[in-house]
């Protein structure tokens, strides 16, 4: 497992190759990359991401451990930027490695759902017309129900 929270930019392609080279005898890797998208008004100057450092890493590691356990994954990587980002910057990435594709897909989907609603990050958009905190999407909370087990 590799969990990184960093101020500096990262290259999703390099991270995918690094992740793949770490693996022994897997059949499938799924990656999700989140990228800074401009506002509908095309006035985004920066996205500033704040987090709760004492909580972030333990939360991400706990999610990764849950995914590894539930889907018998070979490995998980989570990278998340904090600080000031500009449009087109990668914000974050998750990668999952497994023997088969279903486990890799489902676990990446699971990690993203939990990361969106449970990891302590907050985004603020700075535009030429002012700044505002990004609101949480009600659907993001609802979608967590997909992962409940009985």
């Amino acid at each position: 497992m590799r969990v990184v929270v960093q101020d500096s930019p990262f290259d999703a392609g390099h991270e995918l190759e690094f992740f793949r080279n770490r693996q022994d005898n897997i059949g499938a890797i799924v990656t999700f990359s989140g990228i800074v998208r401009d506002t509908p008004a095309k006035d985004l100057e920066a996205l500033v991401i704040e987090h709760y450092p004492e909580m972030t890493e333990s939360t991400l590691k706990d999610m990764a451990a849950q995914a590894i356990d539930r889907w018998s994954l070979n490995d998980v990587c989570i990278i998340h930027r904090v600080g000031r980002l500009v449009p087109r910057d990668p914000i974050m990435m998750v990668a999952t490695a497994a023997a088969h594709r279903r486990a890799a897909f489902e676990s990446a989907d699971f990690l993203m759902d939990y990361l969106k609603s449970r990891a302590p990050f907050w985004k603020k958009e700075l535009t030429s017309n002012g700044s505002s905190w990004v609101s949480a999407n009600a659907e993001d909370e609802a979608t967590l129900n997909r992962w409940q087990t009985n």
Partner: protein, 81 residues
Amino acid sequence: MDILYFAWVRERIGIPRETVETQARTVLELVNELKQREPRYEAAFSDLSALKVALDQSLSDFDADIDGVCEIAFFPPMTGG
């Protein structure tokens, strides 16, 4: 007890963290104590349904007991990813 604020909660209260002495037994009692203090707390805590709370870095709720807790954090719903 350390209290941490994030995102617009931090902006409304004006500081990222502070240490308080309190007799409050639950999160809600602590919030009500803070709201008595100054309008900026009232502004930050006016709608608790828009807020989340973590006790010692674990998500919790406003009814939770805070006995023995070292660090309480208040923040809006997360928007990572």
